[in-house]
């Protein structure tokens, strides 16, 4: 693989005793749409500002194109930023805003004009050059900020919560546009967001942060299907977490006994955990099947799972019909409620199960994820 465009090595940023960013190491490859994802206050912006040069690591170093940038001020870095407030200069016209960086770089006026026009059409603001920012909508101001940064042809474009200030409808539209834009210009994007949907929809890879610590770096698909911790499993999407002991750990299968669940959880892969250790099983609601249950019948058996595992009885306590799917809350023997979603494959599917009905919950051996932290 080529040399990463950004390398973050053991970077820590402390504000007093608070480590806003705590020993983070990661790399970003050229051409990626990379997302920094995490709850509010987890240090995403701080990390992004260190990339832009507005802040410096207390410890560790940052390399851009292999060059240590710790001493390089923001105006000398080959990265540009789209700020959360967009920071469009209010006293300049749209064209002058977009031109600003070229002006400072001393680009000849003729070339400036051509590039401004090109940049404005890239973000679909053709002809709005002479406007003042107060004559623009929020979405248009954001496009100005994008054009102003992209015209510099940066190696990396940094975006801080680019969609959070837009209303829901515009947000969906800009989401698509950002993704097309990135493909068109081919510049590496690093985006900060607290919105998991946004990150999953846009990013080629995501870094999930929590309280300054990097939790996991993976593709959206892997984050969802193979989370490495309870935090990630819970933060991305909805999940049922069961605590238990690892009682079987063979190379090709493993079993967790969870008193809370009242059944074994069978995995079709081994883990490298110590036998007897406390671990967690994470099962997504859509990976649990509902089956009818009558008093006294025997538990159904999943074809890839030995008997007595991955099946528990329960009673439906709540049902929410969402059109394309229905979500259920099922109470199991321990009193714990398990979330289940079921696609409505036919027009009658939502009538299959009703509140108060007795059911079996069952899932395949390849469905749950085992978490050791």
């Amino acid at each position: 693989m080529a040399e990463p465009i950004i390398t973050i090595e053991n970077v820590t940023r402390r504000f007093g005793t608070l480590a806003a960013v705590d020993n983070v190491s990661l790399t970003v490859e050229e051409g990626e749409f990379f997302a920094l994802l995490g709850p509010s206050g987890c240090g995403k912006t701080t990390l992004l500002r260190m990339l832009a040069g507005f802040d410096n690591p207390t410890e560790g170093r940052i390399l851009i194109d292999g060059q240590d940038v710790n001493r390089i001020p923001p105006n000398k870095r080959p990265v540009n930023m789209v700020f959360q407030s967009y920071a469009v200069f209010p006293h300049m016209t749209v064209a002058d805003n977009v031109r600003y960086g070229l002006n400072i770089a001393g680009v000849p006026r003729k070339e400036q004009d051509a590039r401004v026009e090109e940049a404005l059409s890239l973000v679909q603001l053709d002809g709005l050059g002479p406007r003042k920012p107060d004559q623009l909508s929020g979405g248009q101001r954001q496009r100005v900020a994008l054009a102003r940064a992209l015209i510099m042809r940066p190696r990396v474009l940094l975006l801080d919560e680019p969609l959070s200030a837009l209303d829901a409808k515009l947000r969906d539209q800009m989401r698509t546009e950002l993704s097309t834009l990135q493909e068109k210009v081919g510049i590496t994007f690093i985006m900060v967001t607290h919105d998991q949907d946004e990150a999953l929809a846009l990013a080629t890879r995501c870094a999930v942060m929590n309280r300054g610590l990097l939790q996991q770096v993976a593709t959206p698909n892997d984050l969802y299907e193979f989370p490495n911790s309870r935090f990630v499993a819970d933060f991305i999407g909805t999940v049922n977490l069961f605590e238990g002991q690892l009682i079987v750990d063979e190379p090709d299968h493993a079993v967790i006994r969870s008193p809370e669940l009242g059944a074994g959880i069978y995995f079709d892969h081994g883990v490298t955990g110590a036998k007897g250790a406390t671990v967690w099983a994470a099962i997504r609601p859509e990976k649990i099947e509902l089956k009818k249950r009558t008093e006294g019948d025997t538990a159904p058996k999943m074809d890839d799972t030995p008997e007595g595992n991955n099946v528990v009885p329960g009673i439906i306590r709540q049902e929410v019909y969402l059109g394309s799917e229905s979500t259920y809350e099922v109470e199991i023997e321990s009193g714990r409620r398990v979330k289940v979603t079921r696609s409505n494959l036919t027009r009658w599917d939502q009538e299959d199960f009703a509140i108060g009905e007795a059911v079996w919950l069952a899932w395949h051996a390849c469905s749950p994820a085992m978490l050791q932290s």
């Binding site: 832009a52 507005f54 930023m81 700020f83 920071a87 200069f89 209010p90 770089a105 102003r148």
Partner: protein
């Protein structure tokens, strides 16, 4: 038949009407009579004799009054320039940086605003008598130095206050955006910060101009026989006798200051302010 006044129609209740009328009379009657009698065609200032511009002409040809006026304007202009630069810089300094003694400096800056003028005047008198005796007989405008210095000392804190208020609404991401696009410290200051505080600079300038132009107390303590300013001159004329000429001169000064204050207020609250929204 008129209806009984509604609950919020205060102006239709007689005690409030009387109150408002009373306030208006006490506030504005003196000013109005000052202006009216400046047009009175009579040497004595008590009975209306007929309309004339005579005393304006007289005031405008009075050699010593004109000298006083030009002194005042010169002082006000120089004081304005110095105060704006000093005030803006100190405002930016206090806004931008954290340094030891910052709180003390902030307190010290607002001191000239709260200290009674008479104390400032006495302090200036003592200062220029004992600490820094201003040489007499300097050529114009250097003979006005003592007055200028004392005026700056109480005018620039007002500029600082106005500019700081404006800076509070500055979105720091604007500054960072400029740097991100390659601007250094100076260009960021010139291209981004100055345009943002421009209205407050104009407002501060007009404020300083007005304060300096009509200051009497502090000037009285620092002015020498050959550095009489307009307010001081008016005072000495009044001690002699209150002639319509004094009225005319005062009216002109009043119009000047009201105009400057009005402009200052206009610039301080520009109708459109995008800065917060970026």
């Amino acid at each position: 038949m008129s209806q009984a006044p509604g609950p919020l129609e205060y102006l239709r209740r007689w005690p409030l009407r009387a109150w408002v009328t009373g306030v208006a009379v006490f506030l504005y009657a003196p000013l109005i009579s000052l202006i009216v009698f400046s047009f009175n065609d009579s040497k004595r200032n008590v009975v209306w004799q007929g309309f004339t511009f005579k005393y304006y002409g007289k005031a405008l040809t009075d050699e010593s009054l004109l000298t006083a006026l030009s002194n005042s304007l010169t002082i006000a202009l120089i004081v304005t320039l110095v105060s704006v630069v000093l005030g803006a810089l100190s405002a930016v300094l206090l806004w931008r940086f954290r340094f030891p003694g910052k709180t003390a400096l902030e307190g010290a800056l607002s001191l000239p605003i709260v200290v009674p003028e008479i104390c400032m005047g006495v302090a200036m008198l003592v200062f220029f008598a004992k600490v820094l005796p201003w040489p007499v007989g300097m050529p114009w405008p250097f003979n006005l130095g003592a007055i200028i210095i004392s005026h700056v000392s109480f005018c620039f804190p007002f500029v600082t206050v106005v500019v700081r208020a404006r800076l509070a609404s500055f979105n720091r991401e604007l500054e960072e955006a400029a740097k991100d696009l390659g601007a250094g410290e100076w260009r960021t200051f010139r291209d981004i910060l100055i345009p943002h505080i421009a209205p407050s600079l104009v407002a501060g300038a007009l404020l300083a101009f007005t304060l300096s132009l009509d200051d009497f107390v502090i000037t009285f303590f620092t002015a020498g026989p050959d550095t009489v300013t307009f307010p001081v001159k008016v005072y000495s004329m009044v001690r002699f006798s209150v002639t319509p000429e004094v009225n005319a001169a005062s009216t002109m000064l009043m119009v000047l200051t009201v105009l400057a204050t009005f402009l200052a207020l206009r610039f301080q609250n520009p109708a459109k302010d995008l800065a917060e929204r970026g």
